[in-house]
Amino acid sequence: MADYDYPEAVAGPFEAPPVEFEDREGRPIEIRVYDAERDFEALCEMYDTFDPADRAQGIPPAREERVRSWLDVILDEGQDVIAADPDAERVVGHATLVPDGNEAVELAIFVHQDYQGAGIGSRLIRALLGYGAEQGIEKVWLTVERWNHPAVNLYESVGFESSSVESFELEMALRLN
């Protein structure tokens, strides 16, 4: 994916985690860098109960054992930020930057259906980009199903620009540093 057209201007600045706020349903939400020991089981739990209709382009995988092997790979290689509801003792969102082996990273973000529409995704993606910028990441890209308008709007709101058009999937790119 080295041939994306990255915007010339650097996006942001974005506030790095930890970030605490109250979501639109009045729940306290903490956004923080993923910690394997503390968060792994709760993160698996989020994906195990993830609405199949919210899957996109084959992820998260549908079966529990595949969820774990998929997470093992991205948690091992990537930079991960989670959103947690401490009152419910749940991980409710996860955003990640996975290196593509080509000096750029691929971004993905997931918010559990019980916590969608509450303003969490927007805070979560900003915190992830703030964390990525701190880590020195320069180029970020993603693909999104063309008809997934809420996701496309979210990505555009933080500065992603579409870089190719003739496909089921929209490719979007952003410069962080």
């Binding site: 994916m1 996109a56 382009q57 084959g58 992820i59 995988p61 998929w70 790979v73 991205i74 290689e77 990640t96 996975v98 290196p99 593509d100 082996g101 691929e106 993905a108 693909t143 003739e166 496909s167 089921f168 999937e169």
Partner: protein, 122 residues
């Protein structure tokens, strides 16, 4: 069944060939392998043909192997629809570093344009 498999040398297209050859050998399907123009492939059409023949040999399968010039999606639809194939078979896409499935451009074109049924092999 009369199958038309398109191959351009990507990983998913090799997987599609192996799966299809195995089933065709069992079911007695008639298979045509169309070697497509693919500027992204590191293999030349000749090298792809050699590897195709080797794979077919592993399954003891006789198949018609032909080189197709021109736009790969358009040519597959033309051959599939025009020559009475029952099914067009293609690789089901590659995975991104994140694990997202990305369906190839040729597969997208064929799915949207062919009258013949299309199988994307996963």
């Amino acid at each position: 069944m009369k199958l038309l498999l398109g191959i351009g040398g990507s990983d998913d297209s090799w997987h599609a060939l192996t799966q299809t050859a195995e089933r065709a050998a069992e079911a007695g399907d008639s298979l045509t392998v169309a070697i497509l123009e693919n500027p992204d492939s590191e293999m030349s059409p000749g090298e792809i043909e050699e590897k195709v023949e080797r794979t077919l040999g592993e399954y003891d399968l006789e198949a018609d192997v032909r080189h197709v010039e021109g736009d790969p999606g358009a040519m597959l639809v033309e051959i599939g629809d025009g020559e009475g194939y029952d099914q067009i078979v293609l690789g089901g896409g590659q995975r991104s570093p994140m694990g997202k499935i990305r369906v190839g451009q040729v597969a997208e074109f064929v799915v949207l344009n062919a009258e013949t049924s299309v199988t994307l092999v996963r």
